[in-house]
Amino acid sequence: MSAARASGAPVSGAPVSGAGKAGRWRLRAAQLRAFAARYAGRADGMLGLVVLVFFGILALAPELFVGPLETATRASAHAFDAPSAQHLLGADDLGRDILNRTVHGARISMTIGLMATVITLVFGVVLGLVAGYSGGLVDNLLMRIADFFLVLPTFVLALILAPVLIEVVGADAEVMGIRATLLVIIVVIGITSWAATARIIRSQTLSLKERMFVDRARVVGVGPGRIILRHILPNVMNLIVANAVLTFASAVLTETTLSFIGLGDPFQPSWGQILNGAQDSGAAGLGAWWVIAPPAVSVVLVILAFTLMGNALDDLLNPKSRVRR
């Protein structure tokens, strides 16, 4: 427990006496090493990490493992071919190799999950810091809005928001090689899930701003923007990291569900989109389990891995969460 306390102590603002810039970096490196050692002691966290690395490698270079993405015109098998030596995981209704599509799906699912997480965190952290630090009317207003989004069935909101936004942007627009449909999914997940992050960051900011080192900075004449950036943000970093991992899990879950319902992009198939194809072709009723199992198992493994890692990180980094699991 004493080790956990040490990592919760202020990183900035409480300067290590006599240590220059190099000293501070050495201190941080040592802290990081100590943290890595404690993380390595968590079996569940390490299991999650292994799964993540596996899918991460697949996502980085899918072509390397299975060649280019198979489409309706580039299909290499026959409709609903069962698994064989040539097609290890069989083929779907259009004769597309399932292994090929599942590996490519890793890249798309995880990219969307990552980008949605970034948007969620940027919104949540900025609004949480501002609300917590400024207090008063701003805080009240922002938190009422956050409460509204927390109460709202965000998934159902995402369902009506996504098609409206696609209509506004136009389905053929493209940014950085990502098509509009997927961008909309990313933004919709961000809009509907920032509130929880904002609440967590705000409550931590509230207690941090009463601490001595923030008072000291204020007395010396440091402006609010700089205090937030240099003194408060580094101290909520722990929370942000733990929260990011859990947010990623729910972002992948939401993306999979939205794609499954038919809001995905058939030209950039995520795991949810592949399952949508399986549903539309009636694969389950035909007993073609091989069309369903690979993308489904992948989704569950990735969400499970991130949940395990997030819980481990939360226990190690969040001073408020006592041992719950």
Partner: protein, 324 residues
């Protein structure tokens, strides 16, 4: 429970519902293309006709306040407009037809999973590290990571396509609903079995994880030590002291969860072609039937707000600290 507490919660619920209605109003106007362009597709219409139609629909008036006021007025009257897809049918009647099946599925699913999930979670938390805890927590975490359709599709592969025990889709067989009394219920139950299993399994994981941590938290409270010190039996400490207190957070969680349950039920319904709000949502999505989509959102959002209000009131009645 004080009148003040009740009043605060009521006000909060009313403000939230008002915000939902406002959001619903603005969202529809966000879309490109004015309504008259979509609804009056004939390019040969004279300017006069267009003007007249605009006036008749009130589109010549400013968005706020005139259009907003009339929107709120008709929403309060239960007039949600007309469906694009099901031509001529008002949105309220399109939705009303589908509420029953969803309520049946979600209601029964909640009931089963609340009982089973809480029982497993409470026992696992009480005997922490035991067999039930290890197996139960592992399975719960896996179930918790599964979207409903990922639970449902394998169930079809195994129990419908493979073993043939249950039908793959729908709510009744052809003519099944018209058979004499016991047969129509049996037919319904056979169709209900797999979707219900899907929803229940999805929820059991969640509830058992939550209940487990709630029990573990209460276990370290002083009153538990006191109860043990009095010499009460282990089972009685759990039932009379730990369990009721751990149930407090569960009441709120179950209510807050309702929105997610309905969201999840949508995908479960799709997998089994269950004729509820979920399949209606997908039909509406595919045909971009915005009035119906908005109606579903309004219905779900308002039910969630009301469920939250109910949870706050129940919580107020149960927890003496809030009663003041």
């Amino acid at each position: 429970m004080s009148a003040r507490y009740l009043g605060q919660r009521l006000l909060q619920a009313i403000v939230t519902i008002a915000a939902i209605v406002l959001l619903n109003f603005l969202l529809f106007r966000l879309m490109p293309g004015s309504p008259e362009r979509i609804l009056l597709r004939n390019p040969n219409l004279s300017q006069q006709v267009v003007e007249a139609t605009r006036a008749r629909w009130g589109l010549d008036k400013p968005l706020i306040p005139d259009q907003l006021v009339s929107y709120i007025g008709s929403t309060l009257e239960g007039d949600l407009g007309y469906s694009f897809k099901f031509r001529g049918q008002p949105v309220t009647s399109v939705i009303a037809d589908r509420v029953g099946p969803t309520l049946l599925l979600v209601g029964l699913g909640e009931l089963i999973s609340v009982f089973v999930g809480i029982a497993i979670g409470a026992y696992a938390g009480w005997r922490r590290g035991g067999v039930v805890d290890r197996v139960g927590s592992g399975v719960s975490l896996v179930l918790y990571s599964m979207p409903y359709f990922v639970i449902g599709m394998p169930l079809i592969v195994i129990f419908a396509a493979g073993l043939g025990w249950f039908p793959t889709s729908g709510m009744t067989s052809v003519g099944g609903g018209d058979r004499p009394f016991p047969d129509n219920i049996i037919d319904l139950a056979r169709h209900l079995a797999l979707p219900l299993a899907t929803v229940s399994l999805g929820l059991i994981g969640q509830y058992s994880i939550l209940m487990r941590s709630a029990i573990i938290e209460t276990r370290s409270e002083d009153y538990i030590t006191t109860a043990r010190a009095k010499g009460l039996r282990d089972g009685r400490v759990l039932r009379a002291h730990a369990f009721p207190n751990a149930m407090l957070p569960m009441v709120t969680l179950i209510a807050i969860n309702l929105g997610y349950v309905i969201g999840g039920a949508i995908t479960a319904e799709i997998v089994f072609s269950w004729p509820g709000l979920g399949t209606l949502t997908v039909t509406a999505l595919q045909s971009r039937d915005y009035p119906v989509l908005q109606g579903i959102f309004l219905l779900v959002a308002v039910s969630v707000v009301l469920a939250n209000l109910a949870a706050d009131i129940i919580y107020g009645l149960l927890d003496p600290r809030v009663r003041r």
